[in-house]
């Protein structure tokens, strides 16, 4: 009997460990499954983005600090790492490549502490403005300190050295993937543990009610500063991995647009759950690399996706998923499916209309010869002729009308499910 309870208490732990082991194994085996150059590069960038987005969520999600300058720490870490690599190349210092991210991270952490001290006295809008200011400040510094930032062309180094801890020497992208994956796993694990520490809990408390946190004896400014500098540390690691992966880093890495990218990535994934930014990083990096090859309008779709999230799903994709958890557990998920199906079709029609409109406009404004026919979904069309415009407007109108109708049905289905779940509880 006693053994039995112990075993059942052990079971979730065993299941969890096995699940984690399986995930680690899959991550390490991924390059064996996808062997093209494109896939290699994609996997490397996803790994970096995951660390970066999670570090951003330490601010936005866990600390309630909306930063417009997080890429500063990503870039500073990256520049530090590339200078370290350069010194290794020149034989000045023998630092193994595996540990270079640590140096980049530490460098960012120091700056994080300094900037954190001056920016985190208040959260919300003053904080957002100071980080914006610091971001612009560092970005404009980049051009007047060419010895560190390398001016317009950036700084480059060679990652292929013999100074390593492992038998790998990081000449091939596959080997770099192992480095990135290892650092990613370590960082994800550490950042997850951080959410469980008193510091992580206090960061949440300070986010929700700084006054009350102060009342029970914690200084919100200090809590935010520590959280900020730790987040800068992980951003620095991500930046260092970026530098190692591309062997070059320019001032773009610490600019406003890079900060915007990580903000949107994190938000789309969802700031309310730990795994949200991971989802966001994987999805957005994938779309970024795949869609950017297909369409010029990728950034527009990205922006629209972000706007939709802000308007209708403020908890991001992870929030949407977790919304369904109780429904799934209550076995009522199939009640929702028909209404989702009915919303999906007009939603796709609406989206198709938007795509056609956007693509013909891009063709008109950006292609060298607007008169030339363009191909959309494998169909040759002329952007100047009326049919595609009419088709697009028609699809958008019809899609919108039916989508609205379906949205009401989804709401009704949700009401029904909530009602039944409440009944089940009592």
């Amino acid at each position: 009997m006693k053994d039995n309870t112990a075993a059942s208490a052990m079971r979730p732990f065993v299941v969890k460990s096995l699940a984690i082991l399986a995930v680690v194994a899959i991550i390490l085996l991924l390059p064996q499954i996808f062997q093209t150059r494109f896939a290699q590069s994609l996997l490397n960038q996803i790994g970096i983005a995951v660390i970066f987005a999670l570090s951003y969520n330490m601010l936005l999600g866990q600390g309630g600090m909306l930063s417009f300058g997080h890429a500063v720490f990503y870039g500073l870490g990256g520049f530090m790492a590339i200078h370290t690599l350069k010194m290794v190349n020149n034989g000045v210092v023998p630092i193994p490549t595996e540990l270079v991210p640590l140096i980049g991270g530490a460098f960012s952490c120091i700056f994080g502490l300094i900037f954190g001290l001056i920016s985190t006295r208040r959260a919300a809008i003053p904080f957002a403005l100071i980080t914006l200011g610091i971001g612009e400040l560092i970005a404009s510094c980049a051009l007047i300190f060419p010895s560190f930032f390398g001016g317009e062309e950036g700084v480059s180094a060679n990652r292929w050295t013999d100074v390593t801890l492992s038998p790998l020497n990081f000449g091939r992208a596959g080997e770099v993937y192992l480095l990135i994956a290892a650092w990613m796993l370590v960082c994800v694990f550490l950042m997850y543990l951080l959410t469980r520490t008193p510091l992580g809990r206090m960061a949440n408390a300070v986010r929700d009610n700084p006054e009350r946190a102060r009342f029970i004896g914690y200084n919100p400014h200090m809590v935010r500063t520590i959280q900020f500098s730790l987040s800068a540390f992980f951003a620095g690691i991500a930046g260092s991995l970026f530098a190692i992966n591309f062997e070059i880093i320019t001032a773009h890495a610490l600019g406003m647009m890079a900060s915007a990218d990580v903000l949107m990535m994190t938000y789309i994934g969802g700031v309310g759950h730990f795994f949200g930014p991971i989802l966001g990083a994987v999805l957005v990096t994938f779309l970024q690399l795949v869609l950017a090859n297909i369409t010029h309008a990728w950034l527009l779709y990205f922006g629209l996706l972000f706007m939709c999230m802000v308007l209708w799903a403020p908890n991001g994709i992870s929030g949407l998923i977790m919304l369904h958890e109780p429904v799934w557990k209550a076995g009522l998920f199939k009640k929702l499916l028909p209404s989702y199906g009915r919303a999906l079709v007009p939603g796709l029609v609406l989206f198709l209309g938007v795509i056609i409109l956007v693509e013909i406009n891009y063709h008109l404004s950006l292609s060298t010869n607007p008169e030339s026919p363009m191909s959309l979904f494998g169909i040759e069309i002329s952007a100047q002729s009326a049919p595609p415009w009419i088709a697009s407007l028609l699809l958008m109108t019809v899609g919108f009308l039916f989508f609205r109708k379906a949205a009401f049905q989804v709401r009704d289905a949700w009401d029904e499910v909530t009602r039944r779940m409440r009944k089940g509880e009592h």
Partner: protein, 317 residues
């Protein structure tokens, strides 16, 4: 030297009033709704592009009227159907929403008008030298810009202090609930202010777009500077925004003329800087004119750290 000062003063005035056209709307919107409108400079950009479109088809003078109106309508639409619905999620969500608007407007402008600057030109009627003093030419268009901005300032001042709507706006700045209780439709006031602020930014775009350049990066270039102005002047303070606009403009305009670096300063003391490369070499060689881009941000960060209320602000948040 005198020539430089004169020229810089005129440029400061023009640039400063242009900044004020943007920052006045932004600071009012912030004061009323507590919304930091990230997309405000996007309205400036839209104003310039609308004006380009109207002036190529009809003419510059209609553009001066229709472009700001169009931008104002866009602003009203965004407030009514976007901002108002994210209001319930809090200020961070509102800021994120306006940030999204900024991003999407940027892409839409590229989508419609392309990545390259468009040929939005100064109207021929105003394209001549009005006067020249001490070798400095003063074009008629600059005089026109001054005229427009000063009259805009006068109208705005009159509207805020003398009209009924202005009084309601002033009251709603400090006591929104009380104004609501007195039977005024506060959300409607918000909508008008948002639209009005957008229209002002649009007007700045109309007269600034052809003076500077009309390109998709113009919102990204000017937007952060406008934030600086609003923060330095004090969030929600119109007078503060006016003073700060001129101050920032002066800072940026006059910095261009000073080609002095730390090593020059050291040379005055008879110390010659070591000619080694590296970080300190860079530091010694920075000329004041090179810091033109970073000066406003340095100013803003220092301001937020030491005097978060700004020059004339009344509140911290």
């Amino acid at each position: 030297m005198l020539e430089f000062i004169l020229l810089s003063c005129i440029n400061t005035l023009i640039y400063g009033l242009l900044l004020f056209m943007l920052s006045s709307g932004l600071t009012l919107i912030f004061g009323l709704m507590n919304v930091l409108n990230f997309a405000h400079a996007s309205f400036y950009m839209l104003g310039a592009y609308f004006a380009y479109e109207v002036s190529t088809h009809i003419g510059f003078w209609p553009a001066l009227v229709f472009a700001p109106l169009g931008v104002g309508l866009v602003g009203i639409f965004i407030e009514r159907y976007g901002l108002r619905s994210v209001h319930k999620y809090g200020h961070v969500a509102e800021l994120l929403f306006t940030f999204g608007v900024f991003y999407v407007v940027n892409e839409l402008v590229i989508l419609i008008w392309g990545r390259n600057p468009v040929a939005y030109k100064i109207p021929e009627m105003l394209d001549f030298t009005l006067m020249s003093a001490m070798g400095t030419e003063f074009s008629a268009y600059r005089a026109f810009m001054l005229l427009i901005s000063v009259s805009m300032f006068a109208v705005l001042f009159f509207a805020i202090t003398r009209t009924r709507l202005g009084l309601i706006i002033q009251a709603a700045l400090t006591h929104p609930d009380m104004v609501g209780s007195l039977g005024h439709n506060v959300p409607l006031v918000f909508m008008y202010v948002f639209g009005g602020g957008a229209a002002l930014a649009g007007l700045a775009g109309v007269i600034g777009g052809n003076y500077l350049i009309t390109e998709p990066a113009m919102a990204l270039n000017l937007g952060p500077i406008v934030f600086v102005v609003v923060v330095v002047g004090g969030m929600g303070s119109l007078t503060g925004a006016f003073v700060a606009s001129l101050l920032i403009a002066a800072l940026q305009t006059f910095a261009v003329g000073f080609e002095v670096s730390l090593s020059d300063l050291l040379a005055l003391w008879g110390v010659s800087a070591p000619d080694a490369g590296g970080f300190f070499h860079d530091l010694l060689r920075i000329e004041i004119s090179h810091t033109r881009g970073m000066m406003p941000y340095l100013f803003m960060v220092l301001m937020l750290v030491f005097k978060p209320k700004g020059l004339m602000g009344t509140r911290e948040e």
